[in-house]
Amino acid sequence: MKSLRKRNKVPRKSNPSSTVEKREVDFLKIGIYIFLILASMPIFLGFLWLFIGSVSKSLTYGIIPEGFSFKNWRFLWEKPYPSWPDIWLVSLNTLFLAFGVMIIVVAVSTMAGYVISRMKFPGRSFLLASTLILHAFPAITLLIGLYYVLRVLNLLDSVMGVILARAGLFIPFAIWIMKGFFDGISWDMEMSALIDGASRFQVFRKIMLPMVGPGIAGISIFAFITGWSEFIFVITFIRKPSAWTLTSYVNSVIANWRFVDFGLLAATSLFYVGPVLLFFIFTQKYLMQITVGGMKGGR
């Protein structure tokens, strides 16, 4: 603060100094832009390469395309490796995983979040505290126990197993978020509906649900992307090719052609990340509301 105070005493002249200052600020801004652009280069170029690399015959200097070709997209109609599953089956599995996680998480967490926000019952604060503690348990520490549980339930090597496990880990976090959204809604409407004789369930369905729309949207998108992108659970719990998701697929491309077939790597990766990119561009606003509340995979 010292230097500021010193400056305080200097009487400021109005015009000349402020124009100088303005130019100074502009230089500063240009500098900031240049820095941000340079720092973001790996991200820009990385995604740009996915597009370019996937439709080029070959690349010079790593990224400058030479000749247009769909040969890298051949995996859409013929298997790169005989024992691999059909890409469309794999995509369906991935879609099933994403929607499965989304539906379970949204249904379960909206109901629980509503009760925890609105009803008084013994053990409520204990429940709240324990969901928070559970959130501190990272997936890796549960992985071995989960493997055993899924094996007992005969859910290894199935997409359903991954859906249930991922949803189970997601739910405590989602309940917290939904509780927050319910907390933000005033009691008045609900109260008058209850007094008029509506049941709790009617109030929940007809009055509360429409009002927490943004929360449900946020959780849905977040859960969908989490399921769509799931990595560790998929490669650990699923080995059978017929239950592969796109993670297993791209992971196998990496395993077989790590530094060799960059065209195939780019095409399969783009195929995988495409829907997420679209989602991200159009739903960023919702995502950001949720992102900050808690973090994906504890990160």
Partner: protein, 301 residues
């Protein structure tokens, strides 16, 4: 409580409780108990007391892995998750709002990208062949290609994880900066404070609690995240970048180690939980005593 209220409670709460119980609490307890067994691919509960923990103490790799974990957590935290996150937050708050939001969006993108795709992008950037982005640049400058991943494994690990980790700090800090009353910054500007003075005397002091929060939160996150290491260096060269959580995973599941030592893996994971709990208790106390339980403001749009 009336019968009807009770029925409502059960209907609304039960699904959540069942899910959490089966897929969260049981696995957590089971991992703890498994740590005392010599369980392998045959899945027998043969209790061996502290056998796994004795094995851990004698494991010649443990020293290296502890060191790796420390380097990984502190390195990534110091360079990216806190420092670079802060730089990004300040810079994106110092330009036009729309541009700031755009750059924040760009930096959040890796977080939402499937890990395998994110890894593919870095494999291209770091490729040892001349197809890689960095090697292309080197060739352009008349230098030879080098194998980045084996030559600089730690740089690679810290940068690849940091590009994901920085965004959380960025979002939280940017929100905190936005919530600083405008008067302070305007007053400083009117008094002729330079941009750097504004940062040093107003922004930094006013966001010191979010700074502490991110440091604490991300220490725990980094301690347990290993998927990008698994994908990019696979823990190599020769356990050179294997961190504690990855070691636990390798011991239990890795196909090339081929051991399926679930018992030992569970014991390693349990240690991680204990470290995590101790760390959170320490942080909890620091925060509680300083009475900063209020979380940073959330919206950033």
């Amino acid at each position: 409580m009336s019968k009807r209220a009770l029925l409502n409670l059960v209907v609304f709460l039960l699904p959540g409780l069942i899910f959490t119980f089966i897929f969260f609490i049981i696995p957590a307890v089971m991992t703890g108990i498994m740590g005392f067994t010599g369980m392998d691919y045959r899945f027998q509960w043969n209790f061996i007391g502290l056998g796994n923990y004795i094995r851990m103490a004698k494991d010649f790799l443990i020293g290296k892995i502890l060191l790796n974990t420390t380097v990984y957590v502190i390195g990534t935290l110091a360079v990216f998750n806190v420092t670079f996150g802060l730089i990004l937050a300040i810079l994106t708050s110092s330009i036009e709002e729309r541009a700031g939001i755009f750059f924040r969006g760009v930096w959040l993108l890796p977080r939402f990208t499937p890990p395998v795709v994110y890894a593919v992008i870095w494999l291209w950037i770091l490729s040892p062949t001349e197809n890689g982005l960095l090697n292309t640049l080197r060739l352009f400058l008349g230098l030879e290609t080098i194998d980045w991943i084996t030559r600089h494994p730690w740089g690679v690990i810290i940068v690849t994880n940091g590009f994901i980790g920085a965004s959380m700090g960025m979002v939280i800090f940017a929100a905190a900066i936005k919530s600083i009353p405008r008067d302070y910054r305007w007053a400083a500007r009117v008094d002729g404070a330079s941009w750097l003075q504004e940062i040093g005397h107003i922004i930094l002091p006013m966001i010191r609690w979010p700074l502490l929060f991110i440091t604490a939160y991300q220490t725990l996150s980094l301690l347990t995240s290993y998927e990008y290491i698994l994908l990019i260096t696979q823990g190599g060269p020769f356990y050179g970048t294997t961190v504690w959580s990855l070691y636990a995973y390798d011991v239990a599941f890795s196909s090339y180690a081929g051991t399926f030592a679930f018992g030992y893996g569970a014991a390693l994971a349990t240690v991680l939980v204990v470290i995590g709990i101790i760390a959170s208790m320490i942080y909890w106390r620091i925060f509680k005593f300083k009475e900063m339980m209020e979380e940073p403001k959330i919206e950033i749009t």
